[in-house]
Structure formats: structure tokens, C-alpha cells
């Protein structure tokens, strides 16, 4: 009886050891997990965003002296910024009082996808058909994509128009988020986004709006990886991408149409011979005259 109990204890202990060894092996296998790397611009963007957040009034309370010192520095920075802005002739205003900057921040995704005014103009100047998914002929699914509405663009244009008219809808929380988003864009990109917003909201902008809508359809019809990359491309690369995607579809193995029939060649000297046709003498040995026929 005692011996049976000892055997059972030993077996349980052995099982526990086996299980623990298995856990340990599984734990060591976690070393195979890949290391992540932050995007190279993450630090710079975060610092810019933190500056915008601070300017947005979320600065922690400070002592009176520090506050005055900060105000003096802020005033100096403001004066310097105004001077720099005047010198640069920049008309960009991304402060909290600029309704268009807020609207731009709200609709950054739409604007990033639409790209620059130049791109939209170039696109509207071309006769771009509705999209087709790669690897097959045009299908009903492609037609469905081409008919799909683009409510985000409509909402963005309505917001831009309201902002330019001076009657934007206000929502403090969303406005703050929008300002943070706007603050995260590098200055050049921000100016381009403002210009695109103005162009899309301007009277008579229908061709540009249609171009943005058509471009959106093409982006939607692309595969998920391309969908993330394409909006980051410049005007030239976007147009090249579109040209590639817009090539007519050919089934696999198709090598193009046969060459057009050649007109019969008139009898004459051999090409590049520069002289009359060569005639072999009758007495030339038969075996050296080449194959008969």
C-alpha cells in the first residue's frame, strides 16, 4: 500500500517536471518574436504634436514667476513668428482661430488621399475611366466600386465651405483633436492641404471634386497594401501608378495582336548586297549548290 502511494507520487512528480519543462521551452520560444521598430519620423512628429498640445491650453499650472517668464518668452516667440511670417509672405494660419485649419485637421485622411491641387488638376485633365481590379477583366464588383458614394469627401467639402464662410460647426473636443492632427503635418504638407481644401471648396470646383472622387475609387479598388502606400506618393508617382493600373487587361499568355501583313516585296537585289542578283554558273558542282528546291 505504502509502496503504491510512493509510486503514484513519483509519477505525479515526473508529470509535473515534464509539464514544467514544456512551459520553459515554450517560454524560450518567445525569443523568436520579432522586434518592432518605430517609424523614423515618430519622434519628430510626437515632439511637434506635444508643442501643439501645449499651445492648446493643456499646460500644467506653474508658479507666478514661471508663468510671467513663459508669457514673456511666448510674446517674444510670437513677435519673431509674426516677423518671420511677414518676411516669408506666408498666409498660412494654423492657430486655433483659423476655422479652415481646424477643418483641414478634421479631414486630413480625405486630403491626404486627394493629394495636391496639381494632382487633381492633372487627373481631371485626363479621361480616367472607372477603376478595375487587377488580374481580370472588368466585373460587376468594379462597377459597384465605381458607383459607391464617398460621403467623407462630401462632408469634408461641406466643412471647408462652412469654414471659409466663417460659420464652421464648433465642437471643442473635435477641434482640439483636429488641431493636433494639423500640428502633426510638416509645414509644406500643411500648406498643400490648406490649398487643396480651398480648391475643393471653391465655386466651380466640380472637376477637381470629380477627380478626387475618381481617384478614391481607384484607391479603393487597389489591394490593401497599395491602399496604404498610394496616398503617400507625389503627383508624378500617382499618375504613373494610375497609368500602370489603367493598362488594358490581357489574359495570361497573351502576347499582343499579330503583326500586320507585310506587302509583297518587289524582286530586286538582296538587301545590303548593293549589286545585281548573284547567279551561280551552270557548271558549279551540284553538290555545292545547296539543297534542291
Amino acid at each position: 500500500m505504502e509502496r503504491d502511494r510512493d509510486d503514484a507520487d513519483f509519477t505525479l512528480k515526473a508529470d509535473d517536471d515534464v509539464l514544467e519543462a514544456g512551459r520553459e521551452r515554450a517560454w524560450r520560444m518567445l525569443d523568436l518574436l520579432p522586434k518592432g521598430e518605430a517609424h523614423p519620423g515618430l519622434a519628430a512628429t510626437t515632439i511637434e504634436m506635444s508643442a501643439v498640445t501645449t499651445a492648446g491650453g493643456r499646460e500644467p499650472r506653474r508658479s507666478e514667476a514661471a508663468r510671467w517668464r513663459r508669457r514673456a518668452i511666448a510674446a517674444a516667440v510670437l513677435a519673431a513668428s509674426l516677423a518671420a511670417g511677414f518676411v516669408a509672405g506666408s498666409r498660412v494660419n494654423r492657430g486655433p482661430d483659423d476655422p479652415l485649419a481646424i477643418a483641414v485637421g478634421r479631414h486630413m485622411a480625405v486630403l491626404a488621399e486627394a493629394g495636391s491641387v496639381d494632382f487633381l488638376r492633372a487627373l481631371s485633365a485626363r479621361d480616367i475611366p472607372p477603376p478595375r481590379r487587377p488580374g481580370g477583366p472588368r466585373s460587376e464588383a468594379d462597377d459597384a466600386v465605381s458607383l459607391e458614394p464617398y460621403p467623407a469627401l462630401d462632408a469634408a467639402i461641406a466643412d471647408f465651405r462652412a469654414a471659409l464662410a466663417g460659420s464652421p460647426p464648433r465642437d471643442p473636443r473635435r477641434d482640439e483633436q483636429a488641431l493636433r492632427a494639423a500640428g502633426s503635418i510638416p509645414p509644406g504638407g500643411f500648406q498643400a492641404a490648406m490649398a487643396t481644401a480651398r480648391a475643393l471648396a471653391a465655386p466651380g470646383a466640380e472637376p477637381l471634386v470629380e477627380a478626387a472622387r475618381r481617384w478614391h475609387q481607384w484607391v479603393l479598388a487597389s489591394d490593401p497594401v497599395e491602399r496604404r502606400i498610394v496616398p503617400t506618393l507625389g503627383t508624378k508617382e500617382r499618375l504613373e501608378w494610375l497609368a500602370r493600373r489603367n493598362r488594358p487587361w490581357r489574359p495570361p499568355g497573351f502576347r499582343g495582336p499579330f503583326p500586320p501583313p507585310q506587302a509583297p516585296q518587289p524582286p530586286g537585289p538582296l538587301p545590303n548586297s548593293g549589286g545585281p542578283p548573284v547567279r551561280l554558273p551552270r557548271e558549279f558542282p551540284r553538290e555545292n549548290r545547296g539543297p534542291a528546291g
Binding site: 509539464l19 514544456g22 512551459r23 521551452r25 515554450a26 517560454w27 524560450r28 520560444m29 518567445l30 523568436l32 518574436l33 520579432p34 522586434k35 518592432g36 521598430e37 518605430a38 517609424h39 515618430l42 519622434a43 512628429t45 510626437t46 515632439i47 504634436m49 506635444s50 498640445t53 501645449t54 493643456r58 500644467p60 499650472r61 508658479s63
Partner: protein, 210 residues
């Protein structure tokens, strides 16, 4: 709220923790210290959040959100614990908020691997998948990485967090408990169950890994 003078505080945490000292400089308004802190921690934080959420792009967004929260609440930082514990607490809260927002909006959801309800199914699928393989099969590194990632994603969120903090950040049970807002016994229990789940999921592959 006045900032703390770290050099006079004599805190042992600061003496042994360069990040805490950098944070002290951030509190004193040193912008370059914040940048140093970012560069020091961004890759580690992205790795942690990537394996936590299963989405690298989302992990970068959350890492950025974490650093912004660090910056905003810099005045409230006290060097009583390691800086990393404070950072992980903020990061985990940011991830939790993002998940709740995604859940509410039902738009850009965090991958289903995070969901505890699907985690059991994930483990089952992994075990079934594994059972169909020959034990002697030598999977290559990428394949094994994918297997380990799936096994990790199959854990529930709490277990996964505890594993990541313990394994990759070398956090003690106390530090994990503080970051996750749990008790130390709860963390020990979480880690034990996580290790057991990983064993079940990875045992069929262990021969290939070693």
C-alpha cells in the same frame, strides 16, 4: 504643481534609472530630454504594443499617444518607481482606451486576437493545426515566428500583457502588478496560466525550435 528637483531628492530610483533622470529634465522644461526619452523608448514601446495589439501601425499610433500623455502629465511624475513602470501604465491605458473607442465605433477595430472571447478559439485552432504536423518537421524561422505570434495572440489580453512585461521588459511581479493595476498574486496566477497556455500551443513545435 511645482516640479521636483531630482538632484536634491536623492531618490535611489533616479540614481539607478537614467530615464527617470531624463524625465526630471523634461519636468524642468528641457525639450532635448524629451527627445532623448523618445529615442530611448520608442522602439521598445512599439514592440510591446505591437505584440499586445497585433498591429504594427496601431502600435506606432499608441506609442505616440503614450508619449504625448507622458508629456502632458510630466508634472505628476514622481520618481518613486522605475520610469518604465509608469510608462507601461500609461501605454496600457492608451491601448485600453483605443480598444474601447474602436469597440464603440465598430470601425477600425483592434485585431480580433486581442479579444478574450476569441482567444480560446485561437488556441484550439493552433493546437488542431499543430496536431496535423509531423513532430520532426523543422519549420524555418519565419514560420516559427508566425507560430509564436499566433500563440501569443491566442492568450487573453491580461495574460499577454503580463507575458510581454515579464519576458521582454524584465519587469518584476510587483512592477507588472503596478502597471496593470493588479495584485502580485493575481500577476503570478496570470503568468502561470499564460505559460501553461503557451506550452499547450507551442509544444508540438518545440522540436523545431531547438
Amino acid at each position: 504643481m511645482p516640479s521636483i528637483d531630482f538632484r536634491q531628492s536623492g531618490s535611489s530610483a533616479v540614481l539607478s534609472d537614467p530615464s527617470a533622470e531624463l524625465m526630471g529634465r523634461v519636468q524642468r522644461g528641457d525639450a532635448s530630454a524629451f527627445e532623448e526619452l523618445l529615442l530611448l523608448w520608442q522602439d521598445r514601446l512599439v514592440t510591446l504594443l505591437w505584440h499586445q495589439t497585433g498591429d504594427h501601425a496601431l502600435a506606432e499610433d499608441l506609442a505616440q499617444e503614450t508619449f504625448l500623455r507622458v508629456y502632458r502629465s510630466r508634472a505628476s511624475y514622481r520618481p518613486t518607481a522605475r520610469f518604465s513602470t509608469w510608462l507601461y501604465t500609461i501605454a496600457l491605458n492608451a491601448a485600453k482606451d483605443a480598444r474601447q473607442r474602436a469597440h464603440r465605433r465598430r470601425e477600425h477595430g483592434i485585431p480580433t486576437s486581442v479579444s478574450a472571447s476569441t482567444s480560446a478559439l485561437g488556441l484550439d485552432a493552433l493546437a488542431i493545426d499543430a496536431s496535423g504536423r509531423l513532430p520532426s518537421r523543422q519549420a524555418d524561422r519565419n514560420e516559427m515566428q508566425a507560430v509564436v505570434q499566433r500563440a501569443l495572440a491566442g492568450l487573453n489580453e491580461h495574460q499577454r500583457t503580463a507575458v510581454l512585461l515579464s519576458k521582454f521588459e524584465q519587469c518584476s511581479h510587483e512592477e507588472i502588478a503596478e502597471a496593470m493595476g493588479l495584485t502580485v498574486p493575481a500577476v503570478k496566477s496570470l503568468l502561470f496560466r499564460a505559460r501553461e497556455n503557451l506550452r499547450v500551443a507551442l509544444e508540438p513545435y518545440c522540436g523545431g525550435a531547438e
